[in-house]
Amino acid sequence: MRNFSFSRFMFWAGLTFLYLPMFILVIYSFNESRLVTVWAGWSTKWYGELFQDTQIMSAVKRSLEVAFLSATSAVFFGMLSSWAMVRIAKFRGKTLFGGMITAPLVMPDVIIGLSLLLLFVAFTQLTGWPRERGMLTIWIAHTTFGMAYATVVISSRLREMDASIEEAAMDLGAPPLKVFFAITLPLIAPAVVSAWLLAFTLSLDDVVIASFVTGPGATTLPIEVLSSVRRGVSPKINVLASLIIFAVSMVTFTVWYVSRRLEKNRQKAMADDFLIE
Protein backbone atom coordinates (compact mmCIF):
# COMPACT_ATOMS: atom_id res chain seq x y z
CA MET A 1 0.00 0.00 0.00
CA ARG A 2 1.31 3.39 -0.96
CA ASN A 3 0.17 4.73 2.35
CA PHE A 4 2.27 2.20 4.11
CA SER A 5 5.60 3.33 2.78
CA PHE A 6 4.74 6.97 3.40
CA SER A 7 3.92 6.22 6.99
CA ARG A 8 7.05 4.13 7.33
CA PHE A 9 9.11 7.03 6.07
CA MET A 10 7.37 9.34 8.51
CA PHE A 11 8.03 6.89 11.30
CA TRP A 12 11.78 6.87 10.74
CA ALA A 13 11.91 10.62 10.09
CA GLY A 14 9.95 11.24 13.27
CA LEU A 15 12.18 8.90 15.24
CA THR A 16 15.27 10.70 13.97
CA PHE A 17 13.71 14.02 14.94
CA LEU A 18 13.07 12.70 18.44
CA TYR A 19 16.51 11.21 19.03
CA LEU A 20 18.89 13.60 17.32
CA PRO A 21 18.89 16.36 19.97
CA MET A 22 19.44 13.82 22.75
CA PHE A 23 22.23 12.20 20.82
CA ILE A 24 23.95 15.51 20.28
CA LEU A 25 23.58 16.36 23.94
CA VAL A 26 25.33 13.19 24.92
CA ILE A 27 28.20 13.87 22.54
CA TYR A 28 28.68 17.38 23.85
CA SER A 29 28.78 16.21 27.44
CA PHE A 30 32.19 14.92 26.48
CA ASN A 31 33.27 18.22 24.99
CA GLU A 32 36.46 19.60 26.55
CA SER A 33 35.33 23.13 25.88
CA ARG A 34 32.64 24.88 27.84
CA LEU A 35 31.10 26.27 24.70
CA VAL A 36 28.74 24.26 22.61
CA THR A 37 30.03 25.96 19.53
CA VAL A 38 33.58 24.82 19.77
CA TRP A 39 34.60 21.23 19.83
CA ALA A 40 37.77 20.94 21.85
CA GLY A 41 38.25 17.26 22.16
CA TRP A 42 37.04 14.45 24.32
CA SER A 43 36.99 14.92 28.06
CA THR A 44 35.18 13.59 31.03
CA LYS A 45 36.06 16.52 33.24
CA TRP A 46 32.53 17.83 33.34
CA TYR A 47 31.38 14.51 34.72
CA GLY A 48 33.82 14.97 37.57
CA GLU A 49 32.66 18.53 38.18
CA LEU A 50 29.05 17.47 38.30
CA PHE A 51 29.61 14.87 40.96
CA GLN A 52 31.42 17.43 43.07
CA ASP A 53 28.60 19.93 42.89
CA THR A 54 26.96 19.28 46.26
CA GLN A 55 23.98 21.46 45.55
CA ILE A 56 23.04 19.48 42.51
CA MET A 57 23.87 16.17 44.15
CA SER A 58 21.64 16.81 47.14
CA ALA A 59 18.88 17.90 44.77
CA VAL A 60 19.31 14.58 42.96
CA LYS A 61 19.02 12.70 46.21
CA ARG A 62 15.92 14.64 47.20
CA SER A 63 14.31 14.09 43.81
CA LEU A 64 14.95 10.35 43.92
CA GLU A 65 13.46 10.11 47.40
CA VAL A 66 10.33 12.02 46.53
CA ALA A 67 9.94 10.13 43.27
CA PHE A 68 10.25 6.78 45.02
CA LEU A 69 7.75 7.66 47.74
CA SER A 70 5.24 9.36 45.50
CA ALA A 71 5.36 6.57 42.92
CA THR A 72 4.56 4.08 45.65
CA SER A 73 1.69 6.11 47.06
CA ALA A 74 0.43 6.92 43.57
CA VAL A 75 0.27 3.22 42.76
CA PHE A 76 -1.47 2.48 46.04
CA PHE A 77 -4.18 5.03 45.34
CA GLY A 78 -4.19 4.00 41.71
CA MET A 79 -5.03 0.41 42.60
CA LEU A 80 -7.91 1.50 44.79
CA SER A 81 -9.24 3.90 42.17
CA SER A 82 -8.93 1.33 39.39
CA TRP A 83 -10.82 -1.20 41.44
CA ALA A 84 -13.53 1.34 42.20
CA MET A 85 -13.94 2.38 38.58
CA VAL A 86 -13.76 -1.07 37.00
CA ARG A 87 -15.19 -3.55 39.49
CA ILE A 88 -17.80 -1.53 41.33
CA ALA A 89 -20.61 -0.94 38.89
CA LYS A 90 -22.33 1.89 40.68
CA PHE A 91 -21.54 4.04 43.64
CA ARG A 92 -22.55 7.47 44.76
CA GLY A 93 -20.40 10.07 43.12
CA LYS A 94 -18.94 7.78 40.50
CA THR A 95 -19.20 10.42 37.76
CA LEU A 96 -17.49 12.99 39.94
CA PHE A 97 -14.85 10.47 40.90
CA GLY A 98 -14.29 9.52 37.28
CA GLY A 99 -13.82 13.17 36.36
CA MET A 100 -11.41 13.83 39.21
CA ILE A 101 -9.27 10.83 38.40
CA THR A 102 -8.84 11.73 34.72
CA ALA A 103 -8.60 15.52 34.91
CA PRO A 104 -4.98 15.63 36.19
CA LEU A 105 -3.92 13.88 32.99
CA VAL A 106 -4.60 16.97 30.94
CA MET A 107 -4.67 19.82 33.45
CA PRO A 108 -1.83 22.29 32.81
CA ASP A 109 0.89 22.10 35.43
CA VAL A 110 0.67 25.76 36.36
CA ILE A 111 -2.93 25.30 37.43
CA ILE A 112 -2.24 22.19 39.49
CA GLY A 113 0.79 23.86 41.04
CA LEU A 114 -0.88 27.14 41.88
CA SER A 115 -4.06 25.60 43.21
CA LEU A 116 -2.23 23.16 45.46
CA LEU A 117 0.00 25.89 46.82
CA LEU A 118 -2.99 28.06 47.65
CA LEU A 119 -4.53 25.07 49.37
CA PHE A 120 -1.47 24.54 51.52
CA VAL A 121 -1.33 28.22 52.39
CA ALA A 122 -4.97 28.16 53.42
CA PHE A 123 -4.37 25.03 55.52
CA THR A 124 -1.40 26.67 57.24
CA GLN A 125 -3.51 29.70 57.95
CA LEU A 126 -6.38 27.71 59.42
CA THR A 127 -4.72 24.84 61.18
CA GLY A 128 -1.02 25.55 61.38
CA TRP A 129 -0.29 22.52 59.23
CA PRO A 130 1.82 22.26 57.12
CA ARG A 131 4.26 24.38 59.04
CA GLU A 132 6.68 24.52 56.22
CA ARG A 133 6.34 23.58 52.63
CA GLY A 134 8.87 21.22 51.17
CA MET A 135 9.28 17.51 50.65
CA LEU A 136 5.92 16.69 52.18
CA THR A 137 3.96 19.06 50.00
CA ILE A 138 5.84 17.94 46.91
CA TRP A 139 5.03 14.36 47.81
CA ILE A 140 1.35 15.20 48.14
CA ALA A 141 1.32 17.00 44.79
CA HIS A 142 3.15 14.24 42.96
CA THR A 143 0.93 11.56 44.48
CA THR A 144 -2.13 13.43 43.31
CA PHE A 145 -1.22 13.61 39.65
CA GLY A 146 0.68 10.31 39.76
CA MET A 147 -2.43 8.41 40.80
CA ALA A 148 -4.27 9.66 37.74
CA TYR A 149 -1.67 8.07 35.47
CA ALA A 150 -1.45 4.95 37.62
CA THR A 151 -5.21 4.53 37.41
CA VAL A 152 -5.17 4.69 33.61
CA VAL A 153 -2.52 1.97 33.38
CA ILE A 154 -3.89 -0.33 36.06
CA SER A 155 -7.56 -0.01 35.18
CA SER A 156 -6.76 -0.87 31.58
CA ARG A 157 -5.24 -4.17 32.69
CA LEU A 158 -8.04 -4.79 35.17
CA ARG A 159 -10.60 -4.41 32.41
CA GLU A 160 -8.81 -6.89 30.20
CA MET A 161 -8.79 -9.45 32.96
CA ASP A 162 -11.56 -12.01 33.02
CA ALA A 163 -13.58 -10.94 36.06
CA SER A 164 -15.09 -14.37 36.45
CA ILE A 165 -11.71 -15.60 37.71
CA GLU A 166 -12.23 -13.54 40.82
CA GLU A 167 -15.73 -14.93 41.23
CA ALA A 168 -14.37 -18.43 40.79
CA ALA A 169 -11.85 -17.85 43.55
CA MET A 170 -14.59 -16.62 45.86
CA ASP A 171 -16.76 -19.54 44.89
CA LEU A 172 -13.94 -21.86 45.94
CA GLY A 173 -13.88 -20.36 49.40
CA ALA A 174 -11.47 -17.42 49.31
CA PRO A 175 -12.65 -14.26 51.10
CA PRO A 176 -12.50 -11.03 49.05
CA LEU A 177 -9.14 -9.81 50.38
CA LYS A 178 -7.53 -13.17 49.76
CA VAL A 179 -8.90 -13.10 46.22
CA PHE A 180 -7.19 -9.79 45.61
CA PHE A 181 -3.77 -10.90 46.84
CA ALA A 182 -3.77 -14.44 45.49
CA ILE A 183 -5.51 -13.92 42.18
CA THR A 184 -5.91 -10.32 41.09
CA LEU A 185 -2.58 -8.89 42.12
CA PRO A 186 -0.41 -11.50 40.40
CA LEU A 187 -2.36 -10.96 37.21
CA ILE A 188 -2.17 -7.16 37.21
CA ALA A 189 1.43 -7.12 38.46
CA PRO A 190 2.96 -6.01 35.14
CA ALA A 191 0.57 -3.08 35.00
CA VAL A 192 1.35 -2.17 38.59
CA VAL A 193 5.05 -2.16 37.81
CA SER A 194 4.67 0.02 34.73
CA ALA A 195 2.36 2.35 36.64
CA TRP A 196 5.04 2.69 39.30
CA LEU A 197 7.73 3.40 36.74
CA LEU A 198 5.53 5.95 35.01
CA ALA A 199 4.70 7.76 38.23
CA PHE A 200 8.39 7.67 39.19
CA THR A 201 9.43 9.24 35.91
CA LEU A 202 6.78 11.93 36.08
CA SER A 203 7.76 12.85 39.61
CA LEU A 204 11.43 12.99 38.76
CA ASP A 205 10.70 15.24 35.81
CA ASP A 206 8.24 17.70 37.31
CA VAL A 207 9.48 21.27 37.55
CA VAL A 208 6.44 23.53 37.45
CA ILE A 209 4.34 21.94 40.19
CA ALA A 210 7.33 21.41 42.44
CA SER A 211 8.33 25.06 42.00
CA PHE A 212 4.96 26.18 43.28
CA VAL A 213 4.55 23.87 46.23
CA THR A 214 8.08 23.61 47.53
CA GLY A 215 9.53 25.55 50.39
CA PRO A 216 12.86 26.99 51.42
CA GLY A 217 15.78 24.63 51.09
CA ALA A 218 13.85 21.88 49.41
CA THR A 219 14.88 22.15 45.82
CA THR A 220 14.47 19.23 43.51
CA LEU A 221 16.71 18.39 40.60
CA PRO A 222 14.42 19.85 37.91
CA ILE A 223 14.19 23.11 39.85
CA GLU A 224 17.98 23.29 39.97
CA VAL A 225 18.22 22.50 36.31
CA LEU A 226 15.67 25.15 35.40
CA SER A 227 17.45 27.90 37.26
CA SER A 228 20.73 26.86 35.73
CA VAL A 229 19.33 26.56 32.24
CA ARG A 230 17.71 29.96 32.34
CA ARG A 231 21.17 31.36 32.51
CA GLY A 232 22.19 29.52 29.38
CA VAL A 233 23.82 26.33 28.25
CA SER A 234 25.98 24.65 30.81
CA PRO A 235 28.27 21.67 30.38
CA LYS A 236 27.27 20.27 33.76
CA ILE A 237 23.69 20.18 32.61
CA ASN A 238 24.83 18.39 29.46
CA VAL A 239 26.41 15.77 31.68
CA LEU A 240 23.29 15.48 33.78
CA ALA A 241 21.21 15.12 30.68
CA SER A 242 23.45 12.40 29.32
CA LEU A 243 23.37 10.50 32.59
CA ILE A 244 19.60 10.64 32.69
CA ILE A 245 19.38 9.46 29.09
CA PHE A 246 21.75 6.59 29.81
CA ALA A 247 19.91 5.60 32.97
CA VAL A 248 16.48 5.64 31.39
CA SER A 249 17.68 3.76 28.32
CA MET A 250 19.37 1.14 30.47
CA VAL A 251 16.32 0.55 32.64
CA THR A 252 13.94 0.51 29.70
CA PHE A 253 15.94 -1.89 27.61
CA THR A 254 16.60 -4.14 30.57
CA VAL A 255 12.90 -4.36 31.35
CA TRP A 256 12.08 -4.94 27.70
CA TYR A 257 14.81 -7.52 27.25
CA VAL A 258 13.89 -9.41 30.41
CA SER A 259 10.23 -9.58 29.50
CA ARG A 260 11.12 -10.77 25.97
CA ARG A 261 13.34 -13.50 27.40
CA LEU A 262 10.68 -14.59 29.89
CA GLU A 263 8.14 -14.77 27.08
CA LYS A 264 10.51 -16.77 24.85
CA ASN A 265 11.28 -19.18 27.68
CA ARG A 266 7.61 -19.71 28.32
CA GLN A 267 6.89 -20.45 24.70
CA LYS A 268 9.82 -22.81 24.55
CA ALA A 269 8.57 -24.63 27.64
CA MET A 270 5.14 -25.00 26.08
CA ALA A 271 6.63 -26.38 22.87
CA ASP A 272 8.76 -28.81 24.86
CA ASP A 273 5.73 -30.01 26.74
CA PHE A 274 3.92 -30.78 23.55
CA LEU A 275 6.93 -32.64 22.21
CA ILE A 276 6.99 -34.91 25.24
CA GLU A 277 3.44 -36.11 24.57
Binding site: L18, P21, M22, A103, V106, P108, D109, V207, S211
Partner: protein
Protein backbone atom coordinates in the same frame (compact mmCIF):
# COMPACT_ATOMS: atom_id res chain seq x y z
CA UNK B 1 -25.44 -12.47 58.79
CA UNK B 2 -25.55 -8.79 59.61
CA UNK B 3 -21.84 -8.68 60.37
CA UNK B 4 -20.84 -10.06 56.99
CA UNK B 5 -23.15 -7.58 55.31
CA UNK B 6 -21.53 -4.79 57.26
CA UNK B 7 -18.06 -6.02 56.41
CA UNK B 8 -18.79 -6.24 52.71
CA UNK B 9 -20.29 -2.78 52.69
CA UNK B 10 -17.39 -1.23 54.55
CA UNK B 11 -14.87 -2.98 52.31
CA UNK B 12 -16.26 -1.29 49.25
CA UNK B 13 -16.65 2.00 51.05
CA UNK B 14 -12.97 2.03 51.93
CA UNK B 15 -11.87 1.18 48.42
CA UNK B 16 -13.89 4.06 47.03
CA UNK B 17 -13.60 6.34 50.02
CA UNK B 18 -9.86 6.54 50.45
CA UNK B 19 -9.00 7.84 46.97
CA UNK B 20 -12.21 9.86 46.85
CA UNK B 21 -11.34 11.78 50.01
CA UNK B 22 -7.79 12.37 48.83
CA UNK B 23 -8.97 13.74 45.51
CA UNK B 24 -11.64 15.91 47.06
CA UNK B 25 -9.10 17.46 49.39
CA UNK B 26 -6.09 17.72 47.13
CA UNK B 27 -7.67 18.17 43.74
CA UNK B 28 -11.12 19.63 44.03
CA UNK B 29 -10.74 21.87 47.03
CA UNK B 30 -7.74 23.68 45.57
CA UNK B 31 -9.93 24.86 42.71
CA UNK B 32 -12.43 26.29 45.12
CA UNK B 33 -9.65 28.09 46.90
CA UNK B 34 -8.31 29.44 43.62
CA UNK B 35 -11.73 30.87 42.93
CA UNK B 36 -11.85 32.38 46.39
CA UNK B 37 -8.47 34.01 46.13
CA UNK B 38 -9.17 35.35 42.68
CA UNK B 39 -11.95 37.26 44.38
CA UNK B 40 -9.55 39.00 46.69
CA UNK B 41 -6.94 41.67 46.39
CA UNK B 42 -3.23 41.35 46.80
CA UNK B 43 -1.90 42.78 49.99
CA UNK B 44 1.34 43.01 51.80
CA UNK B 45 0.58 40.39 54.38
CA UNK B 46 0.97 36.73 55.07
CA UNK B 47 -0.70 35.34 53.14
CA UNK B 48 -0.43 38.08 50.56
CA UNK B 49 -4.08 38.58 49.84
CA UNK B 50 -7.04 40.15 51.53
CA UNK B 51 -9.52 38.13 53.48
CA UNK B 52 -12.89 37.10 52.09
CA UNK B 53 -14.70 37.08 55.36
CA UNK B 54 -14.56 39.97 57.73
CA UNK B 55 -16.03 39.88 61.13
CA UNK B 56 -16.47 43.20 62.87
CA UNK B 57 -19.11 44.57 65.20
CA UNK B 58 -21.21 41.43 64.98
CA UNK B 59 -21.32 41.78 61.22
CA UNK B 60 -20.05 39.12 58.89
CA UNK B 61 -19.12 40.59 55.60
CA UNK B 62 -18.37 38.45 52.60
CA UNK B 63 -16.17 40.32 50.20
CA UNK B 64 -16.02 39.45 46.55
CA UNK B 65 -13.24 41.64 45.38
CA UNK B 66 -13.31 41.70 41.63
CA UNK B 67 -10.39 44.06 41.25
CA UNK B 68 -8.13 41.32 39.93
CA UNK B 69 -10.53 40.48 37.17
CA UNK B 70 -10.96 44.13 36.37
CA UNK B 71 -7.19 44.48 36.24
CA UNK B 72 -7.05 41.69 33.69
CA UNK B 73 -9.44 43.46 31.39
CA UNK B 74 -7.56 46.71 31.60
CA UNK B 75 -4.40 45.48 30.00
CA UNK B 76 -4.70 43.81 26.62
CA UNK B 77 -1.60 41.79 27.47
CA UNK B 78 -3.72 39.21 29.25
CA UNK B 79 -6.34 38.87 26.59
CA UNK B 80 -3.63 38.59 23.94
CA UNK B 81 -1.90 35.94 26.01
CA UNK B 82 -5.03 33.79 26.17
CA UNK B 83 -5.66 34.15 22.49
CA UNK B 84 -2.04 33.46 21.65
CA UNK B 85 -1.96 30.41 23.88
CA UNK B 86 -5.03 28.96 22.26
CA UNK B 87 -3.69 29.72 18.83
CA UNK B 88 -0.33 28.09 19.52
CA UNK B 89 -1.98 25.11 21.15
CA UNK B 90 -4.32 24.68 18.22
CA UNK B 91 -1.65 24.76 15.52
CA UNK B 92 0.85 22.66 17.38
CA UNK B 93 -1.88 20.08 17.95
CA UNK B 94 -2.50 20.08 14.25
CA UNK B 95 1.19 19.60 13.47
CA UNK B 96 1.42 16.78 16.00
CA UNK B 97 -1.55 15.17 14.31
CA UNK B 98 0.03 15.48 10.86
CA UNK B 99 3.30 13.94 11.98
CA UNK B 100 1.98 11.58 14.61
CA UNK B 101 -0.77 9.91 12.60
CA UNK B 102 1.47 8.32 9.98
CA UNK B 103 3.90 7.26 12.69
CA UNK B 104 1.16 5.61 14.73
CA UNK B 105 -0.19 4.03 11.57
CA UNK B 106 3.23 2.57 10.73
CA UNK B 107 3.56 1.00 14.15
CA UNK B 108 0.03 -0.39 14.09
CA UNK B 109 0.63 -2.03 10.71
CA UNK B 110 3.98 -3.49 11.63
CA UNK B 111 4.18 -7.20 12.49
CA UNK B 112 2.60 -7.70 15.87
CA UNK B 113 5.72 -9.10 17.47
CA UNK B 114 7.69 -5.95 16.71
CA UNK B 115 5.10 -3.41 17.72
CA UNK B 116 6.15 -3.21 21.38
CA UNK B 117 9.68 -2.42 20.26
CA UNK B 118 8.67 0.42 17.94
CA UNK B 119 6.38 1.80 20.59
CA UNK B 120 9.18 1.67 23.09
CA UNK B 121 11.49 3.58 20.78
CA UNK B 122 8.88 6.29 20.33
CA UNK B 123 8.09 6.56 24.03
CA UNK B 124 11.63 6.32 25.36
CA UNK B 125 12.48 9.99 24.77
CA UNK B 126 9.43 11.08 26.71
CA UNK B 127 10.65 9.13 29.72
CA UNK B 128 13.86 11.08 29.84
CA UNK B 129 13.51 14.50 31.36
CA UNK B 130 11.14 16.87 29.60
CA UNK B 131 13.21 19.76 30.81
CA UNK B 132 16.41 18.30 29.47
CA UNK B 133 14.96 17.67 26.07
CA UNK B 134 13.78 21.27 25.73
CA UNK B 135 17.17 22.36 26.97
CA UNK B 136 18.76 20.30 24.20
CA UNK B 137 17.15 22.56 21.64
CA UNK B 138 18.67 25.65 23.19
CA UNK B 139 22.12 24.44 22.26
CA UNK B 140 20.90 23.60 18.79
CA UNK B 141 18.95 26.76 18.02
CA UNK B 142 21.19 29.43 19.50
CA UNK B 143 22.72 32.01 17.20
CA UNK B 144 26.09 30.37 17.81
CA UNK B 145 24.47 27.04 18.27
CA UNK B 146 24.98 23.79 16.43
CA UNK B 147 22.54 24.30 13.58
CA UNK B 148 23.64 27.80 12.75
CA UNK B 149 27.29 26.84 12.99
CA UNK B 150 26.71 23.87 10.73
CA UNK B 151 24.86 25.94 8.12
CA UNK B 152 27.54 28.62 8.16
CA UNK B 153 30.24 26.00 7.99
CA UNK B 154 28.86 24.48 4.82
CA UNK B 155 28.32 27.93 3.44
CA UNK B 156 24.54 28.10 3.00
CA UNK B 157 24.27 31.20 5.13
CA UNK B 158 26.65 33.94 6.18
CA UNK B 159 24.94 35.24 9.27
CA UNK B 160 23.21 33.17 11.89
CA UNK B 161 19.42 32.83 11.54
CA UNK B 162 17.48 33.87 14.61
CA UNK B 163 15.84 30.65 15.66
CA UNK B 164 15.93 30.70 19.45
CA UNK B 165 13.46 32.94 21.24
CA UNK B 166 11.10 32.94 18.29
CA UNK B 167 7.61 31.49 17.81
CA UNK B 168 9.24 28.93 15.55
CA UNK B 169 11.29 27.62 18.47
CA UNK B 170 8.18 27.41 20.64
CA UNK B 171 6.28 25.39 18.04
CA UNK B 172 9.31 23.16 17.54
CA UNK B 173 9.66 22.59 21.26
CA UNK B 174 5.99 21.83 21.74
CA UNK B 175 5.81 19.34 18.88
CA UNK B 176 9.05 17.74 20.04
CA UNK B 177 7.79 17.31 23.59
CA UNK B 178 4.19 16.34 22.92
CA UNK B 179 4.47 14.14 19.84
CA UNK B 180 4.58 10.89 21.85
CA UNK B 181 1.35 11.90 23.60
CA UNK B 182 -0.37 12.12 20.24
CA UNK B 183 1.08 8.87 18.96
CA UNK B 184 0.12 6.67 21.90
CA UNK B 185 -3.69 7.01 21.85
CA UNK B 186 -3.70 6.99 18.06
CA UNK B 187 -1.74 3.76 18.03
CA UNK B 188 -3.99 2.24 20.71
CA UNK B 189 -6.96 2.98 18.46
CA UNK B 190 -5.47 1.97 15.13
CA UNK B 191 -4.15 -1.32 16.41
CA UNK B 192 -7.68 -2.41 17.21
CA UNK B 193 -8.93 -1.90 13.69
CA UNK B 194 -10.16 -5.16 12.31
CA UNK B 195 -7.92 -6.07 9.36
CA UNK B 196 -10.71 -8.12 7.84
CA UNK B 197 -12.74 -4.94 7.45
CA UNK B 198 -10.05 -3.45 5.26
CA UNK B 199 -9.67 -6.68 3.34
CA UNK B 200 -13.40 -6.78 2.72
CA UNK B 201 -13.32 -3.25 1.37
CA UNK B 202 -10.42 -4.09 -0.88
CA UNK B 203 -12.25 -7.17 -2.05
CA UNK B 204 -15.19 -4.96 -2.98
CA UNK B 205 -12.95 -2.89 -5.18
CA UNK B 206 -11.94 0.07 -3.06
CA UNK B 207 -8.56 1.68 -3.68
CA UNK B 208 -6.06 2.12 -0.89
CA UNK B 209 -6.70 5.85 -0.57
CA UNK B 210 -10.47 5.37 -0.39
CA UNK B 211 -10.09 2.69 2.22
CA UNK B 212 -8.03 5.05 4.27
CA UNK B 213 -10.33 8.05 4.04
CA UNK B 214 -13.62 6.19 4.24
CA UNK B 215 -12.84 3.48 6.76
CA UNK B 216 -9.62 3.93 8.71
CA UNK B 217 -9.86 7.65 9.29
CA UNK B 218 -13.44 7.71 10.66
CA UNK B 219 -12.78 4.67 12.83
CA UNK B 220 -9.77 6.37 14.36
CA UNK B 221 -11.81 9.38 15.40
CA UNK B 222 -11.72 8.52 19.10
CA UNK B 223 -7.97 8.14 18.99
CA UNK B 224 -7.55 11.45 17.20
CA UNK B 225 -9.71 13.29 19.69
CA UNK B 226 -7.99 11.72 22.70
CA UNK B 227 -4.55 12.49 21.28
CA UNK B 228 -5.52 16.03 20.36
CA UNK B 229 -6.88 16.74 23.79
CA UNK B 230 -3.78 15.25 25.41
CA UNK B 231 -1.75 17.81 23.47
CA UNK B 232 -4.03 20.82 23.23
CA UNK B 233 -5.12 21.17 26.85
CA UNK B 234 -1.74 21.04 28.60
CA UNK B 235 -0.09 23.18 25.89
CA UNK B 236 -2.51 26.04 26.53
CA UNK B 237 -1.00 26.36 29.98
CA UNK B 238 2.61 25.53 29.07
CA UNK B 239 5.30 27.38 30.96
CA UNK B 240 8.68 25.73 30.42
CA UNK B 241 8.73 25.85 26.63
CA UNK B 242 7.80 29.50 26.17
CA UNK B 243 10.14 30.37 29.02
CA UNK B 244 13.18 28.62 27.61
CA UNK B 245 12.60 28.72 23.89
CA UNK B 246 10.26 31.64 23.41
CA UNK B 247 11.08 35.29 23.36
CA UNK B 248 9.29 38.38 24.56
CA UNK B 249 7.05 38.22 21.54
CA UNK B 250 5.66 34.81 22.38
CA UNK B 251 3.42 35.47 25.29
CA UNK B 252 1.66 32.39 26.64
CA UNK B 253 -0.69 32.41 29.53
CA UNK B 254 1.24 29.84 31.57
CA UNK B 255 4.29 32.07 31.53
CA UNK B 256 2.20 35.12 32.40
CA UNK B 257 0.71 33.31 35.37
CA UNK B 258 4.13 32.28 36.59
CA UNK B 259 5.44 35.83 36.31
CA UNK B 260 2.45 37.32 38.10
CA UNK B 261 2.94 34.85 40.91
CA UNK B 262 6.70 34.65 41.31
CA UNK B 263 7.88 37.99 39.98
CA UNK B 264 5.04 40.34 40.83
CA UNK B 265 3.91 38.39 43.88
CA UNK B 266 0.35 39.13 42.85
CA UNK B 267 -1.41 36.00 44.06
CA UNK B 268 -4.85 37.26 43.39
CA UNK B 269 -4.18 38.07 39.75
CA UNK B 270 -2.46 34.72 39.28
CA UNK B 271 -5.51 33.03 40.77
CA UNK B 272 -7.80 34.96 38.49
CA UNK B 273 -5.70 33.92 35.49
CA UNK B 274 -5.92 30.31 36.59
CA UNK B 275 -9.67 30.53 37.11
CA UNK B 276 -10.18 31.90 33.62
CA UNK B 277 -7.87 29.26 32.16
CA UNK B 278 -9.88 26.51 33.82
CA UNK B 279 -13.08 28.05 32.53
CA UNK B 280 -11.68 28.03 28.99
CA UNK B 281 -10.42 24.48 29.29
CA UNK B 282 -13.47 22.95 30.95
CA UNK B 283 -15.11 22.08 27.68
CA UNK B 284 -12.05 20.40 26.12
CA UNK B 285 -11.51 18.54 29.39
CA UNK B 286 -15.05 17.23 29.37
CA UNK B 287 -14.63 16.30 25.73
CA UNK B 288 -11.52 14.34 26.62
CA UNK B 289 -13.33 12.56 29.43
CA UNK B 290 -16.27 11.78 27.10
CA UNK B 291 -13.99 10.23 24.51
CA UNK B 292 -12.14 8.19 27.11
CA UNK B 293 -15.48 6.77 28.20
CA UNK B 294 -16.49 6.09 24.61
CA UNK B 295 -13.26 4.20 23.95
CA UNK B 296 -13.85 2.08 27.01
CA UNK B 297 -17.41 1.34 26.01
CA UNK B 298 -16.27 0.24 22.58
CA UNK B 299 -13.71 -2.05 24.12
CA UNK B 300 -16.31 -3.60 26.35
CA UNK B 301 -18.37 -4.76 23.39
Amino acid sequence: MKLSRLRRWSGETLVVGIPMVWLLVFFLMPFIIVAKISLAQSAVSIPPYTAMFEWADSRLAVIFDLSSYVWLTEDTLYFDAYVNSIKIAFFSTLICLMIGYPMAYAIARAPAANQPLWLLLVLLPSWTSFLIRIYAWIGLLKNNGLINNFLMWIGIIDDPIQMLHTPFAVYLGIVYAYLPFMILPLYANLVKHDQSLLEAASDLGAKAFTIFTRITLPLSKNGMVAGSMLVFIPVVGEYVIPELLGGNSTVMIGKVLWQEFFNNRDWSVAAALAAIMVAILIIPIMLFHRYEQKTLEEEAQ
